[in-house]
């Protein structure tokens, strides 16, 4: 359907990334996240970033299709970075052990090369993880995702709950559009022209019917699932489960090796941080 792209829902395409098993992608995603969260090594992060962009291109997902989520995350990321600076302006100095002051706002709020470099690394970290997380969600069929979670040991009821949330996210979004249109016709103004307070109360006016109709929907779906025996046994099989192909084994192997190498590079000097300020 060309009507509108739904946020955070599966975008089916024929690419090598889509063809990988959900379980493989989950393993890659987990290894990737662990490495990038542990490491502050600029080279590791830069490498991950470049590689992430390549995979993104490989999956033929357009930036425009995930623009909304990207922008939201960027906004929060910026807020986060500012907050770090406000609460801990000397963090970089503490970490890198030197102090190269550039200028100062006040005696507490100085701007140092160390702090800027530290913040740069923090941003980089998110930039490496976010595209992969997004990619994982939009290239994995929700049911296959559930089966892969189950395969790596997550109880199937939880796996299914996660998958079904992803699956119905698209429905909730189209409900949202319909409800908000009808409310706009009643006079709810959500445009930038309206003052913030009005816009917020307008959004509440949309959220209430949205929540109630979603609850109705949940009722219905859970009845439908119960009636067909969901939860009867401790295990279940999965129609959408695919056997691992050679590509899956290769990708998993490469990921684990690359992850181990990245961690080795990161911890080689006994510190998670790459320190360019060290005297040579």
């Amino acid at each position: 359907m060309a009507t509108s792209t739904k946020i955070l829902s599966y975008i089916p395409r024929e690419t090598p990334v889509h063809r990988l098993c959900g379980a493989t992608k989950l393993i890659v995603f987990l290894v990737w996240t662990i490495v990038c969260m542990l490491s502050y090594n600029t080279f590791v992060l830069l490498g991950a970033l470049v590689f992430g962009i390549i995979v993104f291109r490989l999956a033929k997902i357009k930036v425009s299709e995930v623009r909304f989520v990207l922008i939201t995350i960027l906004v929060f990321l910026t807020l986060n970075t500012i907050a770090i600076y406000i609460f801990s302006p000397e963090e970089g100095v503490k970490i890198y052990g030197t102090r190269h002051e550039l200028f100062r706002f006040s005696s507490r709020y100085t701007v140092t090369q160390e702090q800027l470099f530290y913040l740069f690394n923090v941003m980089l970290k998110y930039f490496t993880v976010v595209p992969i997380a997004l990619l994982f969600i939009v290239t994995t069929d929700p049911s296959e995702f559930a089966s892969s979670l189950n395969r790596i040991g997550v109880p199937y009821k939880i796996s299914y709950a996660v998958a079904i949330t992803l699956r119905y996210l698209a429905d909730v979004q189209s409900d949202y559009v319909e409800i908000s249109q009808a409310q706009q016709a009643r006079g709810v103004d959500l445009s930038r022209k309206a003052p913030l307070k009005k816009r917020i109360s307008g959004l509440i006016g949309i959220a209430v019917p949205l929540i109630f109709s979603s609850l109705d929907h949940i009722d219905l779906v859970s009845n439908a699932m119960d009636l067909r025996g969901f939860g009867k046994n401790n295990k279940r099989t999965w129609y959408s489960e695919r056997p691992f192909s050679r590509a899956d084994y290769i990708v998993i192997a490469v990921t684990i090796i690359a992850g181990a190498m990245a961690l080795y590079v990161t911890f080689r000097n006994g510190s998670r941080f790459y320190n360019p300020f060290l005297p040579k």
Partner: protein, 579 residues
């Protein structure tokens, strides 16, 4: 195998479902919903459970499939046996081995992401290995002719196809009782007809016991039913063959609409007897009644000429597609609605009806052509500005209601417009009175029934004094009593000068209440005429997934000269009876 053994033991069991002095009371209710039910349904029988909303017919269904007491808690006395086993000792899972339920909302029932996965759902839960599962899914989808769609997503399927998937999803478990909960509620007339045929074929193929819970009797009787069980206020009123029940005239007393041909014959003074086999028009010998039917006819001029009012809404060659050069959802549509009219927009699901609504309200813009509101081009008007002229009422009131109290909800639109509080109070009171909600004005919305909530949403739109009320499926899911209530109310509004435009595929509604029907098929306007004429035109019926009205069939079978005039007579007679 275990299954084989149990078959052997219970081989002499001939009853599929048996209620013995069964009473059920929901935990939150102060009185039982089912009183002392005694009912036996034999293996291989095909029965219909009919009754108005609140009669307890859905509750009976929930008891049979185990949602009561698994999901809906309450107190049970008496016994319920399914396949000879006491359900008190069975959980919902062991019951699901015997009873397959096809829910009213086949969208909601669609748990999987694709057809194949959805059909496999029960097998997955039974831990069937993948190769066997794939084979079984293929076999079952073949029986409902859905095997070419194994990889399709629900949004790519029509309402009828979704229902086939839902049926396959329960048949895959080899159940021997199939329970259909209002299978016709969301289907257009032609799809409903094939749904009934599908149910019939399923029974013939599998020999399963079939239980259909519905209030749309005429549609269900499209194929033979062994028995009708009529319920009202938690009790079984009547349990008999369709012929007997239709002859007794009891249905109307309990708010169930009898088939139109039966009503027409009794209006003409024909005494209906079981020997006439009124269960199906095909089996009836009606040519004997030609003279009786003719005698009653007056010449009525059909009301298809435009009303004298000024033009309030018009489409001039409007087309719409989501992408430039993409598939046209609407193609070159022109029509006009005049002040004071009550008209219907009909057509099958996906014909472009809801797109048309969105265009009228300004949620989307036409790719070509012009929409005029009150004689002025609407293209520059915002959603909000158009709402001064067009009040849009969504199908599901739960999607519109956002305040806890009725007064607040109805006044919300005025409040948003910055109207003074005393003026709001005045107009809210007036709207509540018009909608018959004034006695409830200080109630919370949650205390209202579905039909009353619908009225609240209509009141909340009326309060803004639009010229045109646009309603999406105003009577969907309503039984005959509520349907009549809503429609009589809309007629009152119309008599007060409000123009009413309804999107619907309810043929009764079109016939009885709409002055005109605008029929869409595949994005094109194929007919704009009186409903009686639309519903007797085989070509339009076919293209728009409608169904010929049985009044027309009756008139033709009886050899009347002017079937259209016969239909118009029927409608005006009904109108007189109502007023």
């Amino acid at each position: 195998m275990f299954f084989g053994v149990s078959c052997f033991i219970f081989m002499d069991i001939t009853t599929a479902v048996e209620f013995r002095n069964f009473t059920f009371q929901y935990r939150a209710q102060s009185a039982p919903t089912l009183y002392d039910i005694n009912l036996t349904i034999n293996k291989g029988e095909k029965v219909m459970i009919a009754g108005p909303s609140g009669s307890g017919k859905s509750t009976i269904g929930h008891c049979i499939n185990g949602l009561i007491p698994h999901y809906y808690k309450g107190a049970i006395t008496g016994k319920l046996l399914v396949d000879g086993q006491d359900t008190a000792e069975m959980d919902i899972f062991s019951l699901s081995r015997h009873v397959g339920t096809v829910l009213q909302d086949s969208d909601g029932q669609f748990v999987g992401l694709t057809v194949g996965e959805d059909v496999a759902f029960a097998l997955e839960n039974d831990m069937i290995a993948l190769p066997e599962m794939k084979q079984k899914v293929l076999k079952t989808t073949q029986t409902v002719a859905m095997d070419p769609f194994l990889k399709s997503h629900p949004q790519e399927l029509s309402g009828g196809q979704k229902q086939r998937v839902a049926l396959a999803g329960v048949m895959v478990d080899d159940v021997d009782i199939l329970l259909f909960d209002e299978p016709l509620a969301n289907l257009d007339p032609a799809t409903g007809k094939s749904a009934i045929e599908l149910i019939d074929e399923t029974r013939k193929q599998s020999g399963a016991t079939i239980i259909v819970i519905e209030h749309r009797l005429e549609d269900v009787l499209w194929r033979k039913m062994d028995r009708i069980i009529l319920m009202d206020e938690g009790r079984i009123i009547c349990d008999n063959t369709p012929d007997e029940i239709l002859s007794s005239g009891i249905l109307r007393r309990y708010g169930i609409r009898e088939p139109l041909y039966v009503t027409a014959l009794s209006y003409a003074g024909v005494k209906i007897t079981p020997e006439m086999h009124p269960e199906s028009l095909n089996s009836m010998e009606v040519s004997d009644y030609r003279d009786v039917l003719m005698n009653r006819e007056k010449q009525i001029t059909p009301v298809s000429q435009p009303s004298p009012g000024s033009e309030i809404l018009s489409f001039r060659n409007v087309s719409f597609s989501y992408d430039e050069g993409g598939r046209k959802i609407l193609d070159n549509i022109s029509f006009s609605i005049r002040r004071g009219e009550m008209s219907a927009i009909a057509g099958k699901n996906g014909a472009g009806k809801s797109t048309l609504c969105k265009l009228i309200c300004g949620f989307i813009q036409p790719s070509a052509g012009q929409i005029m509101l009150n004689g002025a081009d609407a293209s520059g008007q915002s959603i909000y500005e158009r709402a001064q002229t067009v009040g849009y009422v969504m199908q599901n009131p739960n999607q519109m209601i956002c305040k806890a109290m009725i007064r607040e909800e109805v006044g919300y639109g005025l409040y948003l417009r910055g109207v003074q509080q005393d003026e709001i109070d005045k107009r809210v009171d007036a709207a509540l009175k018009t909608c018959g909600l004034y006695p409830f004005r200080n109630w919370p919305v949650s205390a209202l029934s579905y039909g009353q909530k619908k009225r609240v949403t209509i009141a909340s739109i009326l309060v803004m004094e639009p010229d045109l009320l646009l309603l999406d499926e105003p009577t969907a899911g309503q039984d005959f009593r509520h349907y009549t209530e809503i429609m009589t109310f809309l007629q009152e509004l119309q008599s007060q000068g409000i123009t009413i435009l309804m999107v619907t595929h309810d043929m009764h509604l079109m016939l009885e209440y709409a002055r005109r029907s605008i029929v869409l098929a595949d994005g094109k306007l194929i007919c704009d005429d009186s409903a009686a004429r639309v519903l007797s035109d085989p070509d339009v019926i076919e293209r728009a997934n409608l169904k010929e009205t049985s009044l027309f069939t009756l008139a033709q079978k009886a050899g009347l000269d002017d079937p259209l005039n016969f239909i118009e007579n029927f409608i005006s007679h009904e109108k007189e009876l109502r007023s």
